[in-house]
Every structure is written in structure tokens, then in C-alpha cells.
């Protein structure tokens, strides 16, 4: 029998706020986390702004032992650990355990090891000093590094999986954790994703000419989803994490319930019918959203808010078109829609988990966060949906159902249907 799955804890490391209270305040007030990075100017990057969390590395000592902290260099691992352990604490559970927690698993997404940290490894090997690398490199270089640090700290004993699906990673991780509980394999899953866009990854995106390059002197205005002047995305870093639990299991221990996950889907457009390595096949996107609604047992009319992928490239228009088709809604009938990326940029693998945390906060606190920088809405988008569906100020409003989707390189899609918890 299909089990109900609820969210009982959340943690976040975002460019505009670390920890749930700071992040909530930031998204309610439209606070940008995008900053100018002088080093990027020195490196002759076209885009010189980024969303970097104001993360104090030493704060990790609050989460892990001094021995584990010593030698930890992977920034993505640090972000993931902080978000995951904050979510765990938020859910009302202690970190320490002598026995494995067999009922709890983890699906945490990640895209690449911290190449800046790995540079030291390459230099040592090239310098014929491989024997000086020590024991801590492999565990941080492996793609499952983040997941391994999290599950080790908490003694998680159920499925422990690292997923990777480019920009669809975060939503996909949450979906996989949801499925493990829904199908009865686990009673609790820690899910989320982390991303550190280091200099080398950043440079590679810069070379693709897909980054925002005209607002280097006005960093807070650089991320402009849905606008006429949307000239590329702004890379962001951070992590988001959620604790998912089987409903009865959560209620028995008296856990606070933030929201319910009604369903979701992850698929691929097959890199056919216009889909490529870097562009989405619209048929795949529409199918992903439609299947998500079917699984959740809702219709397009029931969606109050779309938390879009909406990165601020010329794909924004096609995305809105796809939503119109999937939901069978347009113009003044289109649901309210926002893009967190206007405030924090595009956090790649971490985007889906940070944006899901934002979505659930909007359900929990009854508001719709603003799209900042939408001074000049793209007229082609306004041909599809009414301007008032793309709020530029926070709206205080009951939000019952959110559709959260992300689309990634490789033509992969992931969508979640999130709901207020109704008993």
C-alpha cells in the first residue's frame, strides 16, 4: 500500500541565508545573495558575480568531530553536512547513536568533487609526491563523499544513495527518498543536495556563454529570470536538506509536520525532438509534470504556485510554454510563478533542494516570495501568462499545492508536487 510521506525537518546553506530563519527572512524580503567576485575579474571571466554562501568553515566543528574536521577540504561536503545536520536537528532528533539507524536512509545529490581542493592532489601527483597525499583524499574526491559524511555522522543504516542529474539533481534526490518511504523500504529518509561552483567549474560554464555578463557592476541585479534582459544565469552554491518520514511514523514520535509530498516524477526527453545535451525536449518536460500530477492525484487547476526552474536564459519562455501546456492553464488562469534564482542564482545540483525548502516555507508561512529584478518582463512570456502571475513583491497568501520542477543537462527532468499537510 502507498504510504504517505511528510517533511519533518529542513536545513539550508544558501547565498542569501544560512539556516532556516535567515533564509526565510531573505526570501520574504527579496534579499539577493549575488556578489561581485574580484578573483573572477582577474581571471578574465565574462561573468564576475556569483551566489556564494557566507559560510564559516570553522562552524563545521559544531557538527563533526575535530578529527573529521581536520583534513576536510571539500566545500561541497561542508555545505551538505551543515544543511543535512541542521535538518536532522530541526526534526527534533539527536545526532549521536551507538547503533545504526536501520529505518533511516539517505539520498543526497552532488555533481562534482571540489576541484579547487583536488588541485593540490594533482600538483602532488605531478610532482611525484603521491605518497604524501594521505588518507583523506579519496573519501572527498568520490562523488559519494557528501552522502558518506552525512550518513556516517548520523549512523544511517537504510539505503544510502548519491544521485547526480545535473540541475535536476536536488528534486530527483527528494523524489527518490519519497519513493523509498512510499514503497515501504524505509521509514525515514534524509534527502537533499549540495553544490560548490568552484573556479574551474565556473570557468567552464563561462566559456559556454550561458552566464549573465552585463551586470558585473550591479551584482544584485545580475540574475533576471523571466525578463527581457535575462542574458544568462548566475552560478550559485550551497545545499538544501529535508527529513522525510512516513506519516504514522512521524506522528507517533510527535514530529512537527511541515508539508506532505503528494508525488513526483523524474524522466528524460531522450535528447530527441529538439532535446539535446543542453536543451530540454518539451515533450519530456510536459510528460514529467503531467505524470507528477497523476501520481499526486491532482489536476493542473489545483496548483497554487509554480516554483520554476527559470534560470534567466532564453529557455525561460519555453519553460513557461511547457507549464501552460502541462497544466492546461494560461493568461489570467495561470498559477502564481516564481524563481528563487532571481535571489540566489542557479545552484545547479543544489538548486532543487534549496528551492524545495523555499517552496515548503511558502506553504508553511502562507506567502509567495517575489521575483526580484523583474523590471522588464519578457513580452513573449506575457503573451502566455498575465503579469500579475509573476509577483515582484511578496504576497501574503495561503499556498496549498506547489509544483516544483528542475531540468538539467542531459535532458533530464524532475518534478515534485508538494502540499500543505491535511489530516
Amino acid at each position: 500500500m502507498k504510504k504517505r510521506v511528510v517533511v519533518t525537518g529542513m536545513g539550508v546553506v544558501a547565498p542569501n541565508g544560512i539556516g532556516i530563519p535567515a533564509f526565510l527572512n531573505a526570501i520574504q524580503n527579496g534579499i539577493s545573495g549575488i556578489r561581485f567576485i574580484p578573483h573572477y575579474r582577474e581571471l578574465n571571466f565574462s561573468c564576475q558575480v556569483a551566489g556564494m554562501p557566507a559560510f564559516e568553515w570553522e562552524s563545521l566543528k559544531n557538527y563533526i568531530s575535530e578529527v573529521t574536521f581536520h583534513g576536510l577540504k571539500g566545500t561541497n561536503i561542508g555545505y551538505g553536512l551543515a544543511a543535512a545536520l541542521d535538518a536532522w536537528a530541526d526534526s527534533g532528533m539527536p545526532y549521536d547513536t551507538d547503533q545504526p539507524r536501520w529505518e533511516t536512509g539517505c539520498v543526497f545529490g552532488n555533481s562534482i568533487a571540489d576541484t579547487e581542493a583536488m588541485k593540490n592532489v594533482i600538483a602532488k601527483v605531478d610532482n611525484k609526491e603521491a605518497r604524501k597525499l594521505g588518507s583523506r583524499v579519496v573519501e572527498q574526491a568520490m562523488n559519494s563523499g557528501v552522502t558518506s559524511y552525512i550518513s556516517g555522522r548520523l549512523g544511517l543504516g537504510n539505503k544510502v544513495i548519491t544521485n547526480s542529474a545535473a540541475c535536476a539533481t536536488g528534486t530527483q534526490a527528494i523524489l527518490m527518498g519519497y519513493e523509498a518511504i512510499k514503497d515501504g523500504y524505509a521509514q525515514r529518509m534524509l534527502v537533499g543536495s549540495a553544490e560548490h561552483v568552484d573556479t574551474y567549474v565556473y570557468g567552464s560554464f563561462d566559456s559556454m556563454r550561458v552566464l549573465s555578463r552585463k551586470f558585473n557592476d550591479e551584482p544584485e541585479k545580475a540574475s533576471r529570470p523571466l525578463s527581457s534582459t535575462a542574458g544568462g544565469f548566475v552560478p550559485g552554491s550551497g545545499a538544501g536538506a529535508l527529513i522525510l518520514e512516513e506519516l504514522d511514523f512521524a506522528l507517533e514520535r510527535g514530529a512537527r509536520v511541515y508539508a506532505e509530498i503528494l508525488g513526483g516524477n523524474t524522466n528524460s526527453g531522450g535528447q530527441r525532438q529538439g532535446g539535446t545535451m543542453t536543451a530540454a525536449n518539451s515533450a519530456g518536460v510536459i510528460r514529467c509534470v503531467t505524470e507528477s500530477m497523476n501520481m499526486a492525484g491532482i489536476t493542473g487547476d489545483e496548483i497554487d504556485l509554480i516554483s520554476g526552474h527559470l534560470t534567466a536564459t532564453n529557455a525561460d519562455k519555453q519553460e513557461i510554454q511547457n507549464w501552460c501546456q502541462a497544466l492546461g492553464r494560461k493568461g489570467g488562469d495561470f498559477p502564481l510563478t516564481n524563481s528563487l534564482k532571481s535571489m540566489i542564482g542557479h545552484a545547479l545540483s543544489a538548486a532543487g533542494s534549496i528551492e524545495t525548502v523555499a517552496s515548503i516555507l511558502q506553504i508553511e508561512h502562507g506567502f509567495v516570495h517575489p521575483n526580484i529584478n523583474l523590471d522588464d518582463p519578457n513580452p513573449e512570456i506575457l503573451n502566455l501568462v498575465s503579469l500579475d502571475k509573476l509577483p515582484v513583491e511578496m504576497l501574503k497568501k495561503e499556498v496549498n499545492i506547489v509544483a516544483k520542477a528542475n531540468f538539467g543537462f542531459g535532458d533530464v527532468n524532475s518534478c515534485l508536487i508538494l502540499s500543505k499537510y491535511n489530516n
Binding site: E66, V67, G134, S135
Partner: protein
């Protein structure tokens, strides 16, 4: 360097790899790195690398295998330092 001097220096080398700081303060030559100080066996490699840097010596694989307690660590370190001298 006397054995006592090496032992005192060794405490500093080992310190980042054990959470048992009280036990570390009272180590003697019989103290076992894994059993007594609860050092992760994978981290023994790091202690050896740090010791190499600290004493400017090279500890080969066979010698490293002998370094299981504080006494044998001191044996190997003083042997390598004497070779160098």
C-alpha cells in the same frame, strides 16, 4: 633527541587524529594507537606523513608497518633520524 623528547613531540603529531585528548596526555610507550587512542586505522598513514614532514625523514612501508604503538613509533623515528645524521 631522547625517547622522552620524541614522545612529547609525537603527542602533537597524533593530536589531530584522536578525540581522546585525556588519554593522549598520558600516553607511554605501551599505548596502542588504534586500541587505546581509538585512531581510525586509515589515519595511521596521515600520522606517518606528518611525522616525515616534522622530522624531515622518510619512513618506508616496512618500517611504517611496525608503528602500532607509541614505543615502536619512537623506535622507527629515532632509527630514521640516526640514519640521516
Amino acid at each position: 633527541m631522547t625517547r622522552t623528547e620524541i614522545l612529547n613531540e609525537l603527542k602533537k603529531v597524533i593530536s589531530p587524529y584522536t578525540v581522546n585528548k585525556d588519554q593522549l596526555a598520558n600516553i607511554d610507550e605501551q599505548t596502542d594507537l588504534i586500541k587505546d587512542l581509538k585512531i581510525n586505522s586509515a589515519n595511521l598513514v596521515d600520522i606517518i606523513i606528518d611525522a616525515e614532514a616534522k622530522y624531515d625523514i622518510e619512513i618506508d612501508y616496512d618500517s611504517a608497518d611496525k608503528m602500532v604503538n607509541v614505543g615502536t613509533c619512537i623506535d622507527v623515528i629515532s632509527e630514521k633520524m640516526n640514519e640521516k645524521a
